[in-house]
Amino acid sequence: MLKTFSLGGVHPEENKFSAGQKIETLEIPEQVSVLVAQHIGGPAEVAVDKGDQVKVGQIIATAAGFVSTNIHSPVSGTVLKIDTIIDASGYRKKAIIIKTEGDEWEANIDRSETLVKEITATPQEIIRKITNAGIVGLGGATFPSHVKLSVPPGKKCEVLILNGVECEPYLTSDHQLMMEKGEEILVGTKILMKALNVDKAIIGIENNKKDAIEKMSELSKSYDGISIQPLKVQYPQGGEKQLIDACIGKQVPSGKLPIEVGAVVQNTGTVFAVYEAVQKNKPLFERVVTVTGKSVKKPSNFKARIGTPISQLIDAAGGLPEDTGKIIGGGPMMGKALTTTDIPVTKGSSGILIMPEEIAKRKPSQNCIRCAKCVSVCPMGLSPYLLMTVSEKSVWDRAEEEKIMDCIECGSCSFTCPSSRPLLDYIRLGKGTVGQIIRNRTNK
């Protein structure tokens, strides 16, 4: 029996059409739009002016506080303007628009492909480099990585867990990165182990990526303390709490962080970025993006510069299919439906999923038949049907009592519901309000 997390979960159709597609480097766009809020936390502060000349890897916006990150220029050229553009949320957000001229990189970046195994940086230097490089969780959550690496006083990290699960259907960027840059990921893991002062790391990979499990197991033999943990395919195994449970059998208590059970979790894509930042001085300005969908001509994995409009990625994958009904930034379970194809790639863009018209719309919602399927699939052990009702009726104290804030918004409940009820929509609404009530209470 393969390991997995202990409560709930679903198994949507995997549809990994782009699996095994080599990572192609996308052409540098003529113009990029770099959003200043690409991470959880405060938006970065713009550090360039209109007309400034920038190089690839140069800081163009600086972190505003501890929970924030630097933003680097993905191209070399001239800053056209600082303006607002529509982002994945559908709202207008501040962005730096740069016109590309050539491809001139900052001098200290090592552009070679040579593997640098030896780790010379001290733990403090590692964390400083990661902070400067603007690295965030690349799985999609975009939480600044240096914050996770700063273990609070009194807590001890015992194990580093790497997320190579990629439990979202369709997406293959982490899978392909493990296949092509496995060694780099292992060096990156060693770097993080050094920074965290731990001697044990586990890379969790779901069993639908047998080639990656095999490859990483083989490579990891020459790296002390790193083991590969094959996992049963079960969504949402990539959820931080679920992955810890699956790998080490410990459950992070409600409202607490993974460090409570001695674990720090990082995505494999993030670890690759850590490798590049520490060994190659390369900040985070490009990433692997899967472009996929049932009707997409050429499902692909691209290495794209941040700020590239997604229309360029879609064109490179064979163009927008005729029957397109929905474009999703991310996977089908947690991704955001996009309003236009002008939206730029951000640090959190793990994929672009194009859905045909016939499955783009939801089925009409019917009465709850109390089948209890939402309860059995909830990975947090909540009662989604009840959370929806109390949110709908604005009974906020009951919602808080029923632990609405524990919801990780994985969508398993809405996915499963035979009556197609919008469970997660209402739970999100409830979470927003209850979160506000809790903040007001603690601030008093």
Binding site: K3, S6, L7, V10, P12, G90, P169, K241, I248, G249, K250, Q251, P253, S254, K256, V261, L320, D323, G325, K326, I328, P332, M333, M334, K336, A337, L338, T339, M355, E357, A360, K361, R362, K363, Q366, C368, I369, R370, C371, A372, K373, V375, S376, P379, M380, G381, L382, S383, D406, E409, G411, S414, F415, T416, C417, P418, S419, P422, L424, D425
Partner: protein, 341 residues
């Protein structure tokens, strides 16, 4: 370019639907229906068709003319109520009584609470118990299997005496109250293997244990139900009756007899597992099932009715809101596990 749909995640759906679940249960009931037709012939066909049709028609009429909303009779839930009601009726029952039962089941049991998903009590059982109390004679006139196949009450009344008999449970109850020894009563009853294949008097669909178990396995494999309710009911009945048998072997029948007679299997697999009227958490389902098992045995042994599954389920239906209020699913991170991987 087409207009893009923008909606919150998740963007995919399992494809599960109310219809799939309802028709799934109906498919699971087909072996028992076949057994019923095999044993009770024409009567089983008449009762089933009348009940299903009446339930569907009443739901349609109520939705269209009273509630004035879009009729949803094709979701299969009304047909399922009709089928389950038929399974709980003796096959000699006159058509007009079946129609009254269907009206009570759908009209009072289901639609008066707001239709699918809102009824606190199992509609088919509401209909059945209403009929049992209102028409006690007709509701306990049990055709004898096989020899009654070609007859239906009202069409061939002259043969009625020859083709009706008591159910094993009522024979037992009467025997015990007349002070007849258990071993002697047992000799008048069909053997356990006959009981297993349904060779006994009883309601249309409850007798053939083999067919009901087959349907139950289908429901489990298709993940339409979980094991919690059937297993807890059956387990409780077995444990409770075994204890009684051990205490007083002369007075009480054993667990196999109790399991294979009356409506325990039909109730445990198909009636108590009704989504709408059962608890939402697995722990709650276990409590619900244990309650049904205990009440069933109490009624059978100490009550005035020979059979108590319907009452037991309806009583426990009434406890479901309370169970759901206090019994919550196991939450993630509630107990910190200590063992290492």
């Amino acid at each position: 370019m087409n207009t893009l749909t923008v909606s919150p995640s998740p963007h995919v759906h399992s494809g599960d639907s109310v219809k799939k679940n309802m028709y799934g249960v109906i498919i699971a009931l087909l072996p028992a229906l076949a057994a019923s037709i095999f044993y009770f012939g024409i009567g089983a066909v008449v009762v089933t068709i009348t009940s299903v049709l009446a339930c569907v028609v009443f739901e349609y009429l109520i939705q269209k003319y009273l509630l004035k909303n879009k009729p949803s009779i094709f979701d299969g839930s009304a047909a399922l109520t009709g089928l389950l009601l038929a399974f709980n009726l003796p096959t000699y029952l006159p058509i007009w009584i079946i129609i009254i039962g269907s009206l009570v089941a759908i009209g009072i049991g289901k639609m008066s609470f707001g239709g699918l998903g809102n009824n606190p009590f199992n509609p088919a059982l509401v209909g059945r118990v209403f009929l049992l109390i209102s028409f006690p004679v007709q509701m306990t006139t049990w055709p004898t299997p096989i020899i009654s196949r070609l007859h239906y009450f009202g069409i061939t009344p002259e043969i009625l005496d020859a083709t009706t008999g008591a159910t094993p449970l009522s024979i037992l109850k009467e025997g015990v109250s007349n002070g007849v020894a258990n071993a002697e009563i047992m000799q008048q009853l069909p053997s356990l293997s006959e009981l297993f294949f349904g060779l006994m008097g009883g309601s249309a669909g409850e007798s053939a244990a083999a067919a009901l178990i087959l349907g139950g396995l289908y429901l489990l494999i298709k993940k339409i139900i979980t094991w919690h309710i059937p297993v807890s009911i059956i387990g409780t009945v077995v444990i409770f009756t075994t204890l009684l048998k051990l205490i007083h072997p002369d007075l009480y029948a054993g667990p196999a007899f109790h399991l294979l007679t009356g409506g325990v299997l039909l109730g445990a697999i198909f009636m108590a597992t009704d989504y709408v009227t059962s608890p939402m958490s697995h722990k709650g389902m276990l409590i619900f099932g244990i309650g049904i098992g205990v009440i069933t045995v109490l009624i059978r042994i100490f009550g005035s009715f020979p059979e108590g599954v319907s009452f037991a389920i309806l009583i426990m239906n009434g406890f479901v809101p309370l169970i759901d209020k206090y019994i919550k699913p196991k939450r993630f991170g509630e107990v910190i596990k200590t063992q290492k991987a």
